[in-house]
């Protein structure tokens, strides 16, 4: 303001310009910084589960979009031009980080957004810290292993999602440090709700979600709860939530279509070694179908578990010939979110098990 006062002797035209100048110098930064301060963090996720988590943690601070729509096999996604544009404009990219989304590298090359390349702050590898299963001993793919790092279908266990929630919260805090406390608080809430939905309020209050998650990830949940005494009964009597409702599932054998369910199998001590497809992407042969039918008989299998994008005709055929039920569920969450997805799985499976609805 002092410099402007020193130029008061200039012509009226210049004066009028100069009187406007302070207004501009005050208004312009406001005008430009106001949207910048409120600019939402643009989150792009490969799978709907990840974008749902980001939306829960980010709330009004973020906008989210999904590349692979729910109901689409994430192994094979047909490229659209807008995918590269989405990634090009993203602040945070969330991907499994294994070899599930094989199409992502080509998109990253095309998008030219250095902020969200793997290793950069704007990239979240959802699999970080998740204990992987089915990691092949040899990398020669002779067994038809499509996935050389291990099974990438992480979301089939709510306990994996618990870790993913933390990874995504860290990612959001990295690209938007000003709101770290918001992200941390909402991460806590989300994990608390996940724990309660998984194990029931009572058991979470007794043991704490962290310990329950650890036990589950180690495959010790059922043996511990079944053997531990608590107030004159076994602790398992207190178990509620998804895990409580699926208690009849523990130790069962299932037929799966594809090997998507390794983490669910770990959580419930399942045998899902029988699959309808011979190897990933290899259609079943007559001999193989006969083997599957024999295994259903031998292992007293109650239902075929498949995702909604698997080959419906093959699933139906196997189930009809063996006279067992089918549970065909979406593998990834829809607009209703992850909790609704697991609610759906639990309801469908407990129906087949003849348990409580």
């Amino acid at each position: 303001m002092q410099t402007h006062e020193g130029k008061m002797t200039m012509t009226t035209l210049k004066q009028s310009v100069l009187t406007l100048l302070p207004i501009f110098t005050v208004a312009a930064p406001l005008a430009f910084s106001a949207p910048a301060a409120q600019a939402k963090v643009k989150v792009v996720a490969t799978l709907a589960d990840y974008s749902w988590v980001a939306q829960q943690i980010g709330g009004e601070l973020v906008t989210t979009s999904v590349l692979c729509p729910s109901g689409q096999d994430p192994h094979f996604l047909a490229p659209r031009p807008s995918y590269a544009v989405e990634i090009g404009n993203a602040d945070l990219l969330i991907s499994t980080g294994l070899d599930l989304e094989l199409w992502l590298n080509a998109l990253l090359d095309k998008a030219g957004n250095n902020k969200v390349l793997p290793g950069q702050p704007g990239f979240v590898r959802a699999a970080d810290g998740v204990p992987l299963l089915e990691v092949p001993v040899s990398a020669d793919r002779s067994q038809g292993d499509v996935h050389v790092y291990g099974n990438p279908h992480l979301n089939t266990s709510p306990m994996n999602l618990r870790i993913i929630v933390h990874n995504i919260a860290l990612g959001l805090a990295r690209v938007d440090p000003a709101h770290t406390s918001d992200y941390v608080a909402r991460e806590k809430h989300l994990i608390a709700e996940l724990d309660e939905r998984a194990f029931g309020k009572e058991l979470v209050a007794i043991l704490g979600g962290d310990t329950l998650a650890k036990l589950t990830l180690k495959g010790k949940l059922w043996s511990f709860l079944g053997e531990r005494d608590y107030k004159g009964q076994k602790l398992i009597a207190v178990l509620g939530g998804w895990y409580g409702r699926l208690r009849p599932l523990v130790g069962q054998s299932l037929v799966a279509y594809h090997r998507n369910w390794a983490y669910l199998a770990r959580d419930f001590d399942l045998d899902v070694s029988t699959t309808v497809e011979v190897k990933p992407a290899v259609a079943p042969t007559a001999g193989h179908v006969a083997e599957v039918l024999a295994a259903i008989e031998r292992k007293h299998i109650k239902f075929v578990l498949a995702t909604s994008y698997d080959n419906a005709a093959q699933i139906e055929t196997v189930a009809r010939r063996a006279n067992i039920g089918t549970v065909v569920v979406p593998l990834h969450c829809g607009p209703q979110g992850y909790f609704a997805l697991i609610d759906g799985w639990v309801a469908a499976m407990s129906k087949q098990l003849g348990g409580a609805q």
Binding site: P69, P81, K220, P335
Partner: protein, 407 residues
């Protein structure tokens, strides 16, 4: 990053494809070997799969070399087929179709041994035009320039054979040799372009502009070539624009535009050369039939619609739904992931044993039980009932620490 920037390289590659394939397409229509490119592409894909089996992944140059060797083998086969087929009055297309079927079946058998390769085969059949980069334009230009050079030198002879092989043979042309040169250069072209654009798009690039050109010009090869190029250019640009506007996959969109152009062209041809009243009748007939077909499809569809299904499968870029408000609101501080403080010794005992069970090693176990709020009695009871040596060691040390602290 704009859509136009994104599609500049794919458009460049598409125009190169139009250039070379329109030329080959005119030859192929003259020869009546429409599906020869499918056969060659399938043989090349088989080569890629075999390469995968012997340890060469699809991005390895060795894989492309395998494809090329297989495709050249296919060229020899095709050149050898002509006299044998014609000598027995069998259309060459029959043998070409069988070649395609055999190559596909072999590919399926090979795939069973290399499932990972199957994904890449699928990729090569659907095409990845969208991922074309500046470098791809240069590479394609180099390959096609080499092919074009051969055709600049031998073009006249090749055209003679394409138009009338018997007349050419009478004039002293070695038909089998010319056939081999033609199929070999064609194999090189198709092998390369299928890797860029996929079988489907390459087939359409070959046949569609040539078909349009031959429909509208009975004149010479040169004139048809120019018509084909112009049509190809316009359709490519229009297809790319539609792909941007509607956010559609580029390859199939271009093909759909070709279908539209061919349909309109066919309609115009059908309406031309008849008197005005007949033309009006025919036009009215077309509109009536189209309307009727839509109405029938609509009527058939209605009873089968599952409304739940319809809602679940939304758009491609599904916007995640915001947090349901009741979930955001009902959380108090007591819902923290770590278990809430408790005075109930049963709860504490269960909590202690769960923490020990979940812990990873001696250090982790010690950390799990060293909770200052844990009553000494609970720790002592756990020690008394524990059977695990590692748990006992941790609990003993823990008890010492706790009794020190309490004192």
């Amino acid at each position: 990053m704009s859509m136009l920037e994104l599609l500049a390289a794919p458009l460049g590659v598409a125009l190169l494809l139009v250039g070379i394939h329109t030329y080959f397409g005119l030859h192929i229509l003259r020869r009546g070997v429409i599906f020869v490119d499918l056969a060659l592409a399938q043989i090349a894909a088989l080569g890629g799969l075999v390469a995968f089996l012997v340890g060469l992944p699809p991005d390895n140059p060795g894989s492309e070399a395998f494809s090329l060797v297989f495709a050249l083998g296919g060229a020899v086969l095709l050149a050898a087929m002509r006299p044998r087929a014609h000598g027995r009055g069998v259309p060459q297309e029959a043998l070409i179709g069988l070649t395609y079927a055999f190559a596909s079946a072999l590919a399926l058998l090979v795939m069973a041994e290399a499932p990972e390769g199957a994904e890449h085969l699928r990729e090569s059949l659907t095409g990845t035009l969208l991922w074309a980069e500046g470098g791809d334009i240069l590479k394609a230009a180099a390959v096609y320039a080499g092919v074009a050079l051969v055709h600049v030198i031998y073009g006249r002879t090749i055209l003679k054979v394409s138009e009338d092989a018997e007349a050419a043979a009478r004039a002293g042309v070695k038909v089998s040799l010319v056939d081999f040169i033609f199929y070999a250069t064609f194999a090189v072209t198709v092998t390369h372009s299928v890797r860029i654009a996929g079988v489907l798009l390459v087939f359409v690039f070959l046949v569609a502009p040539a078909t349009l050109a031959m429909t509208w010009s009975r004149g010479g090869f040169r004139r048809q070539l120019i018509i084909g190029w112009v049509v190809g250019l316009v359709v490519c640009v229009a297809g790319m624009a539609a792909s941007v506007a509607g956010d559609l996959t580029a390859g199939p969109t271009i093909i759909a535009v070709y279908a539209l152009v061919l349909a309109v062209s066919g309609l115009i041809r059908w309406l031309m050369g008849v008197s005005a009243p007949v033309r009006t009748q025919r036009l009215a007939g077309v509109l009536a039939v189209t309307g009727a077909v839509f109405a029938i499809l609509w009527g058939v569809r209605a009873p089968f619609i599952d409304h739940h299904d319809h809602e679940a499968h939304g758009g491609a870029l599904l916007e995640a739904s915001p947090a349901p408000p009741e979930h955001a609101a009902d959380h108090g501080p007591e819902h923290a992931p770590a278990a809430a403080p408790s005075n109930d010794s049963d709860v504490l005992a269960a909590r202690l044993s769960a923490a020990l069970m979940a812990a990873d090693g001696p250090e982790d176990k010690l950390a799990a039980c060293t909770d200052p709020s844990m009553p000494v009695t609970v720790v002592a009871a756990a020690l008394a009932s524990s059977t695990d040596a590692m748990d006992k060691a941790a609990l003993t040390r823990c008890l010492e620490t706790l009794s020190h602290a309490k004192r």
